[in-house]
């Protein structure tokens, strides 16, 4: 049996004081934002050791989000492959239907502590926007959500939810009209209103301390999974899978496990129509290091350093960048990053729905789809955990369109 030694030791070094994970990360932002990042860094450092903040956060996770989320044994899915046992970490059961709310609660609490009155956020799939709007409604705050108009049309249900929750959804018309453009517009808003505005980033991206902050607020996923694995299987998992867009559900799952070297970690990106085509979002597989949205990380870009348009059937993975810590973990080899296509992801939705009665989000379905490759290599005395990052209600229109096709 593997022992649950403290995972703090080796990983405590990342990021360094200046926000670097190896060479990745940093704070490549206009001068105007530096005071805001300094304030944020100081406030975040305070709340990490502030018992009353932590208690408020934990109480909301328990009583409002519904944590802890179960670790569900997927018996029929296991039977389908006939190899290692498969478990699902059920972030889809979080209030609002995805892991995003773990982070939104943390950052809204921090904003309140800092006395910021105006909340802005970007969203791709709409899950982070819904989570932010939800937490703001809970606290009687208003918020503005930037969303690419392409995403507005493919995640309409979530747009209606945000509006019902009282958020103002501002369509973004530039570039591919998806997540990356929404982040640009949110940063421009922040630059213009930096004194009273708190920008809640929805993934493990952006300038320091955002990737660290998002990691910390999402680490509850991995911490619970470790405890539940010990309780249900008497040991730690052999394989852990998570989908990677910007990388928040993945880093939340992986970070507490990094020092348990026997756990094999897999991050699954969106290969869109194929990594050999120009229409994909597999940043760590097909990109090169560069600077976007305040940090150095792998990026999809042209030879001239212009940011390329990403493509994925899932709006939440449709981003040409990735969190800097994932770039670091890719280069150190601690995590294996791989990708699956749009078609495979749709097949993943079908598989989990029909075998387990759980309709996953299209993002999550990428991790499910990777089972086809992974499972033949596993043994029946091993077990796999998949981070089931969200539920698929928001994707029903897109899924129905695909499934109708011959």
């Amino acid at each position: 049996m593997k022992t649950a030694k403290s995972p703090e030791v080796a990983s405590a070094e990342t990021p360094d004081k200046r926000g670097f994970y190896g060479k990745f990360g940093g704070r490549y932002v206009p001068e105007i934002l530096l005071p805001a990042l300094d304030d944020l860094n100081a406030a975040f450092a305070d709340v990490r050791n502030d018992a009353s903040f932590q208690q408020q956060y934990q109480t909301l996770l328990k009583e409002y989000v519904g944590r802890e989320t179960p670790l569900t044994y997927a018996g029929r899915l296991t039977g389908h492959f006939g190899k290692a046992r498969i478990y699902l970490k059920r972030e889809d059961l979080c209030h609002t239907g995805a892991h995003k709310i773990n982070n939104a609660i943390g950052q809204v609490l921090l904003a309140r502590k800092m006395g910021k009155t105006r909340i802005i956020a970007e969203t791709g799939a709409g899950q982070h926007g819904v989570a932010t709007a939800t937490v703001c409604a809970h606290f009687g705050m208003s918020c503005i959500i930037y969303m690419g108009s392409e995403d507005i049309s493919r995640q309409k249900l979530n747009v209606d939810r945000m509006r019902l929750l009282g958020a103002e959804v501002r369509p973004v018309e530039s570039g591919a009209k998806t997540l990356s453009n929404a982040i640009n517009e949110a940063i421009r808003d922040w630059v213009s209103n930096v004194d009273d505005t708190f920008y809640i980033i929805g993934s493990a991206v952006g300038p320091h301390p955002y990737p660290l902050m998002v990691r910390e607020f999402q680490s509850v996923i991995g911490t619970e999974t470790i405890d539940q694995s010990l309780e249900q299987e008497g040991r730690l998992p052999d394989y852990v899978l998570a989908c990677v867009g910007g990388g928040s559900n993945a880093i939340g799952m992986f970070y507490p496990m990094l020092d348990y070297q026997d756990i094999r970690l897999y991050g699954i990106e969106a290969a869109g129509e194929g990594v050999q085509t120009s229409r994909h979002a597999a940043t760590l597989t097909g990109g090169h290091p560069g600077i976007l949205h305040g940090s150095l990380s792998y990026l999809l870009q042209t030879e001239h350093g212009q940011i390329a348009e990403a493509h994925s059937v899932s709006a939440g993975l449709d981003y040409p960048g990735v969190g800097p810590e994932h770039s670091f973990l890719r280069d150190t080899g601690r995590v294996t990053y791989t990708s699956v296509t749009d078609d495979q992801a749709i097949e993943g939705v079908r598989l989990l729905s029909s075998k387990e009665g759980i309709i996953p989000a299209l993002e999550t379905a990428h991790a499910i789809a990777y089972l086809h490759e992974l499972m033949p290599r596993t043994r029946s005395d091993e077990f796999v955990v998949i981070n089931c990052s969200g539920r698929g209600d928001k994707d029903m229109e897109t899924i129905a369109k695909f499934i109708k096709q011959p």
């Binding site: 940093g26 932002v29 001068e31 530096l34 421009r188 630059v191 560069g290 350093g305 940011i307």
Partner: protein
């Protein structure tokens, strides 16, 4: 007076001639924007100009060629302004080597504030390219001194908390009035040029007593966009620039 245009806007073929006209009309410094796909400190005007330039294939090599051509005819100081990623992909060392060999005088990288990317600052000094850094209304006095220390050529004082682009009414002069004394007190080794939001001669005059010069970008590009369909758009742009610098001489003078 420093003028900003996006290299290759409105078309790559006219940048050299346009710069000549800007100089003849009173520009003391030319800031050439290196277009980037995701200009997150820029408002709609420069976003638009960047896209037009990129759609016509402008890249760092073609910008270096433009600088070389300008240098054949003029000694006007040229400062390149752009985001770091295209520079990084070009290769930092190669970029600074080439920039200095074609006659670039300075560089402004809005997403590289002092201290966050030391290698860039070292290369500026190795290749004798003046690094121009920015101060903003919310910059602390201590930080202003750091920016002054790190900069050469001038310090770019951002007039308002926001992105580039023309501003309404007297927003710029009101904002500048509130913090310029602090800038003067702490930025002592470099001239202070103020930019963002300046539309016309009155805007410039309202603030110019307090600083060493001003920068116009978006308003110039907006003007070019308006007159570009005319065959004599470059000459008309020259008129606009003279009005910017010297004011409109007579009430009947119809400027564009």
């Amino acid at each position: 007076m420093s003028l900003f245009i996006t290299a290759g806007y409105p078309d790559p073929g006219s940048t050299v001639e346009l710069v000549e006209e800007l100089e003849a009309s009173g520009a003391d410094i030319i800031e050439l924007g290196m277009p980037f796909s995701d200009p997150l400190a820029d408002g709609p005007t420069i976003q638009y100009a960047s896209k037009v330039a990129l759609d016509q294939g402008v890249n760092i090599d073609s910008i270096f060629e433009m600088v070389r051509a300008i240098r054949n005819r003029s000694e006007i100081p040229i400062v390149l302004m752009g985001y770091i990623n295209p520079v990084l992909q070009y290769g930092l060392q190669a970029f600074f080597l080439k920039a200095s060999s074609v006659g670039v005088d300075g560089i402004i990288l809005p997403d590289v504030p002092p201290g966050e990317f030391p290698e860039v600052e070292a290369l500026c000094s190795d290749y004798d390219i003046a690094p121009v850094f920015l101060v903003a209304p919310n910059t602390s006095e201590e930080r202003m001194r750091i920016v002054d220390q790190a900069s050469r050529g001038f310090v770019y004082c951002v007039s308002v908390t926001g992105v580039t682009g023309a501003r309404e009414g007297s927003e710029v002069s009101l904002s500048v009035g509130k913090f310029i004394d602090k800038v003067r007190k702490n930025v002592t080794q470099n001239p202070i040029l103020i930019g963002f939001g300046i539309r016309n001669h009155q805007d410039a005059m309202a603030i110019s007593g307090k600083v060493d010069g001003f920068i116009v970008g978006s308003a110039l590009i907006d003007h070019i966009r308006m007159v570009y369909s005319r065959p004599d758009w470059i000459r008309r742009t020259g008129t606009f620039v003279r009005h910017l610098k010297y004011g409109v001489k007579t009430g009947s003078d119809k400027s564009e």
